[in-house]
Amino acid sequence: MNRHRGMIVAALAFMAMPMLYAVLTFAARPVSEQPWLEPPLANTTCVLPRERMRYDHMRYLKSLRDQVMREGRREQVTGEHAQGIGSCKGCHAHRELFCDRCHERSSVRLDCFGCHAY
């Protein structure tokens, strides 16, 4: 055992190198790669908490879409506190500075704005 200690340590260190490299590059990635988003115009809360919206906005919009298209229920997309894709621009005025920032970075191609005005 003692005979091989040096070799074992060297082998472990060699195997850990790629992981170390990944961790270091992740930690040292330039901050400018994080998309800058235009802050919302109104100082109010969104329809869902921020973290929920970050991960679930697409599912949330789809559920609203199905409510409207399939069931004809429009109570959530009309009125003063309207939600839905037509109402996002009430706070997030520019699509180029809000939706597109992340979608372009993560190579997500959207079909929304071919039809919906934003």
């Binding site: 399939r70 069931e71 009309t78 079909d111 071919g114 039809c115 005005a117």
Partner: protein, 245 residues
């Protein structure tokens, strides 16, 4: 002896299995027949078109529809979309020559052939009877256009470059489209664009309302006038009624 017992047991088992599979089939047939016959007391949208009040050269409904729904029209007769259009009917009988200007639109059938033909259920009949295309889901196979006996369906051969009404989305290239009785307005308690325009030019030929409500304006019109529907022989049960056709 052993073989005899084995055969007996397997016969009993297979008979039991067949019965277990057949039972839900038989019962489900019965229950589906019962549910389709149940009368609906819910809202059921329909339209009455009074041709005696519809002027020959008026296209207010067509223009209003195009503006409200961002309908793709550029003057190309082969590709233009008409959610509502006006045609002139001429009687070929020499005894009773007649010319009528008739608005044609989706009949919102109770048995919509387009919804049956749609392979992905993009076209559906809503609970209130409106036949609606979900452009998010439509893949542009155009089966509905073949199935519709009224030629009420159109295909977006290109995207509309204009969007006169930003509150309502346009359609992209590759989806089918038809009148949906301005469902977005009806759901908010407003009149469809064509009905509104018709009332604004004081023609009042178009009326939209609840067919299930015996006291609604549309039910009264149907009761008090001889009404016709288009191609009733097809069994599609259209919900657009014509007075004076």
């Amino acid at each position: 002896m052993h073989r005899r017992r084995f055969l007996k047991a397997s016969a009993v088992l297979s008979a039991g299995a067949a019965g277990a599979y057949a039972l839900p089939l038989l019962t489900s047939f019965k229950s589906s027949a019962e549910t389709t016959r149940a009368p609906s007391t819910k809202l059921r949208w329909g339209m009455v078109i009074d041709l005696t009040r519809c002027p020959d050269n008026c296209t207010a409904c067509v223009d209003a529809c195009k503006k409200e729904n961002n309908v793709n029209t550029s003057g190309d007769k082969l590709r233009d979309i008409h959610r509502i259009r006006k045609v002139t009917l001429e009687s070929t009988l020499s005894a009773a020559p007649a010319r009528k200007s008739v608005p044609l639109l989706c009949n919102h059938c109770d048995n919509p052939p387009c919804a049956v033909a749609c392979p992905i259920k993009a076209t559906t009949k809503r609970e209130d009877g409106i036949v609606i295309v979900d452009p998010h889901r439509c893949m542009g196979c155009r089966y509905c256009m073949i199935a519709c006996p009224y030629n009420a369906r159109h295909f977006n051969f290109r995207e509309n470059p204009e969007q006169p009404n930003p509150a309502y989305p346009k359609r992209q290239h590759g989806v089918a489209e038809s009148c949906n009785l301005c469902a977005h307005l009806l759901d908010q308690g407003k009149r469809p664009a064509c009905v509104d325009a018709c009332a604004n030019v004081n023609a009042q030929a178009l009326t939209v309302g609840d067919l299930n409500d015996p006291n609604s304006e549309i039910s009264t019109l149907i009761r008090n006038h001889p009404v016709k529907r288009l191609r009733e022989d097809l069994g599609t049960e259209p919900k657009v009624f014509y007075i004076g056709l």
